[in-house]
């Protein structure tokens, strides 16, 4: 094989291997950062759209539509305000105050699903709701719930785990758990012997976070407001397939169970010998929900329904998709700052390419002069330097793309574990192409100054005997 301009450039890079690797690495980090930022930016919107699914309107008593969506769909904070089932009846969102999940009286509404999300199991948020949550609501549009194992709940003291909860707790169908009132890392799985009449599979459950006999006594002194509802274990009847939504990190149980747990707690606080709470003896005040997921029968009537709900006193109506768009606009300015930082990092890494190539020029004047004597034109020398600079950037871009693929997977997994937001780790090849080509062009641009220096090399002066 003959020597080519590229083989001369390769030789040069090899000669300055350490500098080449360090410079290419700095480009790689910048490229990876930029690709990840662009991809996260694109996927974050999609991630937020997951979760609201096929719901049209969210009805709650929260302070604002945005907090309503964040609290009742994304489990951001425990909702502070409640709606009573009688309120829903008044709004026409149910026609039976005794039966949550009954068909709505308002003919514009296809379904209305009450949800209550102020409790927790260990660090996972709970969602007390009705069977309709699984039968009618879809976490992402046209993506129905699927069970990995078991069934959806159909009795009061049953619970269904989101995919992440099941994976991280290693709990299985048939195990029993206790729900904590409020958000905390309390709550626990039942262990044989802990609670008479409860059973557990024979696999090992960690219950280091549980001191069963003291939770009740110290309920008011937990510091985080959490209180373990120890009297009512819930048996796991189903584990959901992942949905890529925040619901993967949630624990779902019947809203009746939640009403009973809270009623018992309230009655215990109010009177020394409280009457045991039963679904039959719950007062209207004890039948509270935080929000209602609503889907209208047609898109055309969403507007009028939403306006009507919004004007109802004490009601906050939110169009989840609009709130997500508004949220992304709020996040957008921060997003642009982060992008600007990413671009600044890329430019600084390109400057490092220029410095690396430029600083090597001093040592290479003789080589350039020899090539000129052998017949290389000034233009060809300029081409060699630009190629070298672009090649360093190319190495960095390729390594950066590889880093980005790994980083996106890590970031996606971490986001899912920590926030329940599913960020698609897939990187759009168009972004790779655009950032890759831009990096290579910037790399070539970084070679301009060293190339000018090479262009000006005095052949005769550079070939003088040393010393």
């Amino acid at each position: 094989m003959s020597m080519t301009d590229l083989s001369i450039v390769r030789k040069s890079l090899k000669t300055h291997a350490v500098s080449t690797i360090i410079t290419a690495l700095s480009v790689a980090i910048a490229v990876a950062l930029l690709i990840v930022l662009f991809s996260l930016r694109e996927h974050a919107g999609n991630a937020f759209r997951r979760g609201t699914g096929n719901m049209h309107v969210l009805i709650s008593a929260d302070a604002s539509p945005l907090s309503s969506v964040l609290n009742n769909v994304f489990y951001a904070n425990p909702p502070q305000r409640k709606l009573l089932m009688s309120d829903l009846e008044r709004l026409g969102l149910t026609n039976d105050t005794e039966g949550p999940g009954a068909r709505p009286r308002d003919r514009r509404v296809e379904w209305a699903i009450p949800v209550q999300s102020g409790d927790s199991f260990r660090s996972f948020k709970t969602m007390a709701t009705t069977n309709d949550f699984f039968a009618k609501f879809q976490p992402a549009d046209a993506v129905p719930w699927k069970l990995r194992e078991g069934a959806f709940f159909d009795a009061t003291w049953q619970v269904v785990l989101g995919d992440t909860v099941a994976r991280l707790t290693n709990l299985q169908v048939g195990d029993e758990i206790f729900i904590s009132h409020g958000w905390s890392n309390r709550g626990h799985a039942a262990v044989a012997g802990d609670t008479p009449g409860t059973k557990s599979d024979d696999h090992d459950h960690s219950h280091a976070d549980h001191d069963h006999s003291h939770d009740h006594e110290e309920g008011g002194a937990m510091g985080d407001g959490a209180h373990v509802h120890d009297d009512h274990p819930l048996v796991i009847v189903g584990i959901l397939e992942p949905t890529g939504s925040p619901h993967d990190r949630a624990v779902f149980f019947p809203i009746e169970a939640s009403w009973i747990l809270h009623a018992e707690e309230a009655r215990a606080a109010a009177e020394p010998t409280p009457k045991p709470a039963r679904i039959e003896n719950l007062t209207p005040e004890e039948k509270a929900v935080n929000a209602v997921y609503v889907r209208c029968r047609t898109n055309a009537i969403i507007g009028s329904f939403f306006s009507e709900m919004r004007s109802a006193p004490g009601i906050t109506a939110a169009l989840p998709n609009n709130q997500i768009v508004a949220l992304m606009q709020i996040v957008g300015s921060i997003d642009q700052i982060i992008l600007a930082i990413g671009i600044a990092v890329l430019i600084s890494s390109i400057v490092s390419v220029m410095l690396a190539v430029y600083s090597s020029m001093g040592q290479r004047r003789r080589q350039i002069a020899v090539l000129r004597v052998l017949g290389a034109t000034r233009g060809r020398i300029v081409g060699l330097v630009l190629t070298e600079s672009a090649l360093i950037a190319t190495l960095g871009a390729v390594a950066g793309a590889a880093f980005a693929v790994v980083a996106m997977r890590v970031a996606s997994s971490a986001m899912l574990q920590r926030t329940g937001l599913y960020i698609d780790p897939w990187i759009d090849p168009l972004w790779l192409l655009v950032i890759g080509v831009a990096t290579i062009l910037l790399g070539a641009l970084a070679g301009v100054l060293p190339a000018i220096s090479a262009y000006r090399v005095s052949v005769i002066r550079s070939l003088r005997p040393l010393g």
Binding site: S2, M3, R366, V370, L371, V373, G375, A376, L463, P465
Partner: protein, 252 residues
């Protein structure tokens, strides 16, 4: 080698009359009324006429700073004269654009330096092949030709980086590189200045032998008097250059 009396520097074969151009088309080198002056200095080079016949080997002698290397640089097209013509293999290189002159140099000229000026980090073979990059030799022939050339010059490890070769071997690689493209003319600039007398004679054997083998003319500049006996034609720069003598401290 028989000793020859130094010549006057005036090329007896020079023909400045009508038809001279066609008569000397094949001459590897012909200089006519070449004038060069360093800026800011009264010193320069002025050569009325010089011509080398095909495969002729000429020694250009002169003291340090007398302008020998300047003439080589002018002939190589690395610097521009202010007047006159330099014809290499029939082409007036003073009329070529800088880029065309570079191309021309790669195809028709070979250069040998006192310090070899090999490409560090490149093997002996690669050093020779790099020279062929700028020639008309088909790429597929580069490697076999370079290998054969190095082998003929006794380089047994052509794949070794040149910095690992002995000084003598490096000199041979430099010679191989200069003749690799079968140039019409090889310019040697003080090729033995950094060698001891024995190695200097060996080096000149290699240089002169290689030029003969490829049919290249050789213009060798040196201030080493021991080389005189190796050349049939010797030219004292003082006789050739009619420009004023250099001033003390002036840059050549």
């Amino acid at each position: 080698m028989p000793a020859h009396p130094p010549q006057t520097g005036v090329d007896p074969s020079a023909n400045h009359g009508p038809g001279a151009a066609s008569a000397s088309l094949a001459a590897p080198l012909r200089i006519e009324n070449l004038v060069f002056r360093y800026s800011g200095s009264g010193f320069g080079v002025s050569v009325a006429s010089l011509q080398l016949a095909p495969a002729e080997q000429v020694l250009l002698t002169g003291g340090s700073g007398s302008g020998k290397s300047t003439i080589l640089h002018l002939v190589a097209g690395l610097i521009d004269g202010s007047g006159g013509r330099i014809l290499v293999a029939g082409t007036d290189i003073t009329r070529l654009s800088p880029g065309a002159r570079d191309h021309f140099r790669g195809r028709h000229l070979g250069m040998i330096f006192q310090t070899f000026n090999l490409l560090q980090g490149f093997s002996a073979l690669e050093n020779v092949m790099v020279a062929m990059m700028f020639s008309d030799i088909p790429p597929r022939e580069h490697r076999p030709r370079a290998a054969e050339l190095l082998s003929s010059l006794g380089i047994t490890s052509p794949a070794s980086p040149v910095e690992q070769l002995s000084v003598g071997q490096q000199q041979r690689v430099a010679v191989a590189r200069a003749v690799a493209c079968s140039p019409a003319l090889v310019l040697a600039d003080e090729p033995t200045a950094s060698l001891d007398p024995d190695n200097a004679q060996d080096a000149m054997d290699v240089i002169q032998g290689s030029c003969r083998r490829v049919g290249a003319a050789l213009l060798c500049v040196s201030h080493d008097p021991s080389l005189a006996s190796r050349f049939e034609r010797r030219i004292a720069l003082a006789d050739l250059n009619s420009a004023p003598a250099p001033q003390v401290g002036a840059a050549p």
